[in-house]
Symmetry: C2
DNA sequence: TAGTTTGTTCGTATGGTTCCGAACCAAACA
DNA sequence: TGTTTGGTTCGGAACCATACGAACAAACTA
């Protein structure tokens, strides 16, 4: 059981809603929020159940999703069977997903352009081509950005 | 009714699924896909209903959502009551949403850092601070990117 | 006025997601 | 071997979003 002020509880809820909008199920989102807000860097399964008020099932599947997407790591302490969970914070995750998304979109748009053929309206085709060019530009630049940030040694 | 090859139909479905994953309801996603694939740059309400196989209700609400988010424009032709719908393709929409998302996340993380206070685990706090710094850097750079692209006159 | 066209809105139904409680399993220990 | 602890998986219930059909509205025609 984790001690949290009311504002801290509200924050967990707020970031929970936020993560939900980016595709996480509610249980995963609250778990991640709690791991970020807790004064302790690691929490046990039981801590999560007791503090969040979710059933064990929800916490179990919520954790699984978080681990599948590399958002949470898990370890055990010597002599204890219990596992402890910790939030993993990589600033790049969002960018990576964004780039992957754009890349997939780009491929799709190119296939679309090809399928439209030459008899189709030229303006829409031109718009699609402009989108593809921009997405390619964006991908290259985002790659450079990442390199630049890491070179600065601040991440 | 719009004539589409089977591969073209599949493409509409594919980009439909793709847009669904970025938050669009299924009907909106298919409508937008069809508007992009159709040889005609504009389609009527009836075209959408007949080609997609959705009911009128679904097309109506699907279109509303697309218009609310500026993804589709509508016009009438002189002497016709019917309305014609056209896809609007802005390459920036994705970037804007990404930046808005990051900005909101950044604010949230800063509030989180403040709420954690000084008694909380320092490593997690430091990770949060690094995330904030990176997000700020990213936002600035993305702004610059946009400007650079538009200056090149290729969008 | 009566009828046709062009959509919109409402009530209901359906599909998919997520939750809970319970049953279950695996590991440690008596 | 039996018991406790730590966690997973299953079945059913609840919820939310969305689709359909039908009723409705608005605009034009005859």
């Amino acid at each position: 059981m984790v001690k949290l002020d009311p504002p801290q509880r509200e924050w967990v809820e707020a970031i929970g809603l936020f993560l939900e909008r980016s595709g996480f199920p509610p249980s995963s989102a609250r778990i991640y929020g709690l791991l970020l807000m807790s004064a302790e860097p690691e929490l046990s399964f039981e801590d999560l159940v007791a503090t969040l008020g979710f059933g064990k099932a929800a916490v179990s599947t919520g954790l699984r999703r978080l681990q599948e997407t590399n958002r949470v790591s898990e370890r055990t302490r010597p002599g204890e069977r219990r596992r402890y969970f910790r939030a993993r914070l990589g600033p790049d995750a969002g960018v990576d997903r964004f780039r992957a998304f754009n890349s997939a979109l780009c491929d799709l748009l190119e296939r679309g352009i090809a399928l439209r053929g030459s008899r189709a309206d030229a303006e829409i085709t031109a718009d699609l081509e402009a989108s593809v060019r921009f997405l390619r530009f964006l991908d290259v630049e985002l790659g450079g950005l990442r390199a630049r940030w890491e070179a600065n040694g601040d991440g």
